[in-house]
């Protein structure tokens, strides 16, 4: 491929849930631990591939000093889209405040789809945002689930930054190594170890050998190799002409587990953040296909990065089981209050971006920006303003088990008690808007009136099969 016209990797963001299940917990529960993995990242009850994608992308944008303007292309790669059919990129564009005309692509169905999204961004040209986010699942008692982790990496593509000097892909029919049936959530494998390893090795080597016009590159500092577990990448080191140390320099599987479509992108993010000069990316998708990229940093320029990958909460195995779902019930039958989807949609600028309104009469802020002004009671048309993080807690409580509204039963039975607060945000030029917000409690010791919080995107609740995403508050002192 001719890479001269392609954009460069201008900034990097990454995110993994803060919850970690230690390998020892698996060993105690099942008698086996995942290979080469110390701990795996577990999404909280209100996290999924979409919310992690938002976190990583928001970090990539802010690390590079971007606010979303001028972004022409958005690509999202995942094997676990929260909805099997629906354009999730439309909502991602909205939560990230990207231009309406941005071209979007979704890549799925393969653990190679994160790198496929990156390739699509390079092909598209111009300023682009590429996000790989994944949280694979397997049968609860199997190797695939024990290895399954969660995480997301995002890259802003623009004129300056690290250069993708070459790319290659390769496919070879290898059915049955790892697959997911239509309509199922769990990946499966037949566990034919020699066959699986051959497929992995041969397919990855196929793309690698085609780099540099067949002159396969050597001397890379870091090799971001697909990591279904902590063992397989090292088994293909010789086929990719890399040292185990180069794989070490770009591995995330040991602390995050198998991050599926985000595996190789997370490795790339880590290598760029560590200022590696020459990076090999080798992504594998069962079936099988591979993508290889060779990336170089020019002139010693750092690629700005914001990586939030550390885990700081290690719940017991029972908490992991609850969060994983499957042993918890759905919302109870009932009736009563409801917010229809059309009504919810009217408020998406508020749910996604906390857009408030400034009263043209008295200057007070209104959230949501409709109805009579809270201050002067005039029925006005508000000027849209966007209050900034951090907000301040004005009133707060913790909703204990059994006390939650029915819409929040599934979340609470998986994630446990949560806090709800009234949070005051200052406007860009005065005034404050008070917003009722949920505060996830993972990693939070205490939460009091006056505390500073920042916002992120999480699942609020699900109704009639439709996921409602919106802002939640994270205490500033625990935000990573």
């Amino acid at each position: 491929m001719n890479g001269t016209a392609a954009p460069r990797i201008a900034s990097v963001g990454a995110y993994a849930p803060r919850l970690r299940i230690e390998a020892g917990e698996y060993r105690e529960a099942w008698g086996e631990a995942p290979r080469g993995i110390d701990r795996t990242a577990v999404p909280d009850a209100d996290e999924d591939a979409f919310t992690m994608a938002h976190e990583a992308a928001a970090r990539a944008l802010s690390a590079g000093g971007y606010d979303g303007t001028g972004v022409e292309f958005l690509a999202f790669g995942t094997t676990t889209p929260p909805m099997a059919e629906e354009e999730l990129t439309a909502r991602l564009r909205s939560t990230l405040d990207l231009p309406e005309g941005v071209a979007t692509r979704t890549h799925t169905g393969s653990t190679r789809s994160g790198v496929a999204a990156l390739a699509a961004g390079l092909d598209a040209g111009g300023r682009g945002l590429v996000v790989a986010s994944d949280c694979p699942e397997g049968a609860p008692d199997g190797d695939l689930e024990r290895a399954a982790g969660a995480g997301a990496a995002a890259f802003v593509l623009d004129d300056d930054g690290a250069t993708v000097v070459d790319r290659a892909t390769y496919t070879e029919p290898y059915p049955g190594t790892r697959f997911r049936r239509r309509g199922e959530t769990d990946v499966e494998g037949l566990g034919i170890t020699p066959y699986d390893r051959t497929a992995f090795r041969e397919t990855l080597a196929g793309a690698f050998d085609r780099l540099d016009g067949g002159e396969a590159p050597t001397d890379v500092d870091a090799a971001a190799v697909q990591a279904p577990d902590g063992d397989l990448p090292y088994r293909v080191a010789d086929a990719l002409s890399v040292d185990p140390e180069a794989i070490d320099a770009a591995e995330t599987v040991r602390d995050l587990g198998d991050t599926g479509a985000a595996s190789a992108p997370l490795g790339l993010a880590r290598a760029l953040a560590a200022d590696a000069d020459r990076i090999l990316v080798a992504a594998f998708g069962s079936g099988a296909g591979s993508s290889a990229l060779l990336i170089e940093r020019s002139g010693g320029n750092e690629v700005p990065a914001d990586l939030a990958l550390e885990g700081d909460v290690s719940p017991p195995f029972s908490d992991y089981l609850r969060r994983r779902g499957g042993i918890t019930s759905g919302p109870p039958a009932g009736g009563g209050a409801a917010v229809s989807v059309p009504t919810w949609r009217r408020t998406l600028p508020q749910r996604h971006r906390l857009v408030a309104g400034k009263c043209p009469e008295c200057g007070a802020l209104a959230f949501p920006p409709e109805g009579a002004c809270r201050d002067c009671a005039e029925l006005v048309e508000y000027e849209a303003v966007r209050p900034a993080d951090p907000g301040r807690v004005q009133a707060v409580t913790t909703i204990e088990r059994g006390g939650e509204p029915p819409e929040f039963v599934p979340q609470q039975s998986r994630g446990g008690p949560y806090a709800v607060a009234v949070v005051a945000f200052d406007g860009p030029d005065g005034g404050t808007a008070s917003v009722p917000m949920q505060v996830p409690l993972a990693g939070v010791d205490s939460l009091s009136v006056g505390d500073a919080v920042e916002t992120t995107i999480r699942r609020i609740y699900e109704d009639e099969g439709v996921i409602r995403y919106g802002r939640k508050a994270v205490p500033a002192n625990v935000r990573r």
């Binding site: 009563g336 204990e400 006390g403 939650e404 009091s448 009136v449």
Partner: protein
């Protein structure tokens, strides 16, 4: 404008009654109200009815007023359902008084009902939340207890009060409820019981929350000519003043989180129209759906200065033998809170007290009393001042 009097007042017991229906509970309240009228009253004399209910359970959302008035034989009279959440039947009384004062009716019935214990805990939670602000507050995961807990967090942060002060409200009101045969939770609780109860929404524990109850309540409001034809006016219970107000439904939109502004506005109007102030009251029935609400109400109603609610409680002034007993019935906390019946139920307690019929919980020399009924977490409030005997110009 002529004066309106409460001539009859009756309620069903408040509690959990799986053998009753909303109609049978309403019938009990209606019959007791009719029986309580001095010299009796012919039901044909009732010109109009106003019935409060939230509609918990969806048992009769539409036409829930006629569904009970026709059931008890009030055939053909106009009946309007009044809905203002937990203040539904406080506002129903207000409507009945307006009808009588205006001359539209000589006798008007006000009442309310709710059945809340005949469904699963999950279903109750659906219905308990319907009076919070739905789109933003509820859909952040906030519950009804959660909103009051948020107010409590702001209150405890702003003033010197502690969770123990909240617990003392429960102890006082349970002590009163234990003397009320119609109370739902008719038992005493110790400070330790209240303080050590499981947490519901910090800083509120189980004993900081009122129960969900079944019940119905009915009062009969009559014009002064009607009353005079039966008995001397100076023994009748006169509606001396009513004040009501509304506010934003959701807490974040309000001016204060440590006050319920609608309560303060409603009280100011009621005092002004009755020509009295808080010092002139002999007792009060306040809307203590959560313990913190009683402390905040002390301040909103002018019983004490801002931030001194806990001190007033600790002084003993609001206990049954204090200077200004509050919630001698046990309040929502112990008497119970069948949402649509609560506001009228407060009037019934006050009528009993002013008539000297409150038995073990009688406040001595009770001549003037106040009721305070709040919808949701403060989206609506209505305050009544009632007094014994003919007065001057009410309003």
């Amino acid at each position: 404008m002529r004066d309106a009097y409460i001539v009859g007042a009756g309620q069903s017991p408040f509690g959990a009654f799986p053998e009753e229906s909303y109609r049978s509970l309403f019938r009990t309240a209606y019959e007791r109200a009719v029986e309580s009228v001095p010299d009796g009253i012919d039901p044909d004399a009732i010109d109009e009815a106003f019935v409060g209910t939230l509609g918990v359970g969806g048992r009769q959302i539409g036409l829930s007023g006629p569904a009970v008035t026709e059931f008890v034989g009030l055939d053909g009279i106009p009946c309007t359902r009044v809905e203002n959440a937990c203040a539904a039947s406080g506002f129903a009384v207000r409507s009945a008084v307006q009808a009588v004062r205006s001359g539209m009716a000589d006798v008007a019935l006000a009442g309310g009902f709710e059945v809340m214990t005949d469904m699963s805990a999950d279903a109750v939670r659906y219905w308990l939340g319907v009076s919070g602000e739905t789109e933003w507050e509820r859909m952040a995961g906030t519950t009804f207890a959660g909103v009051y807990a948020q107010m409590a967090s702001a209150y405890l942060n702003e003033y010197d009060a502690t969770p123990e002060d909240l617990a003392r409200v429960a102890v006082k009101n349970h002590a009163n409820g234990a003397r009320n045969p119609d109370a739902h939770l008719d038992f005493e609780c110790s400070l330790d019981d209240a303080r050590d109860a499981p947490e519901v929404a910090s800083p509120l524990g189980l004993y900081d929350c009122c129960p969900v109850s079944d019940g119905a309540a009915v009062v009969l409001v009559a014009g002064e000519e009607v009353v005079e034809s039966h008995a001397p006016l100076d023994e009748a219970i006169r509606v001396a003043g009513i004040g009501a107000a509304s506010d934003r439904v959701g807490l974040p939109d309000r001016d204060s989180y440590t006050s319920i502004p609608a309560s303060a506005r409603a009280a100011d109007r009621a005092y002004e129209r009755a020509g009295v102030g808080p010092d002139d009251l002999d007792l009060a029935e306040l809307h203590d759906c959560f313990t913190v609400a009683e402390l905040i109400a002390y301040e909103d109603l002018g019983f004490c200065e801002r931030g001194e609610g806990a001190d007033l409680l600790a002084s003993g002034d609001t206990t049954l033998d204090g200077d200004l007993p509050v919630n001698p019935s046990g309040g929502l906390k112990a008497k119970g809170h069948p949402i649509g019946a609560t506001g009228t139920g407060q009037i019934i307690e006050v009528v009993k007290q002013l008539r000297g019929e409150a038995d073990d919980r009688q406040v001595p020399d009770a001549n003037r009393a106040l009721t305070h009924n709040v919808g949701g977490s403060g989206g609506a409030a209505v305050v009544h001042v009632l007094e014994r005997g003919a007065g001057g110009e009410g309003g």
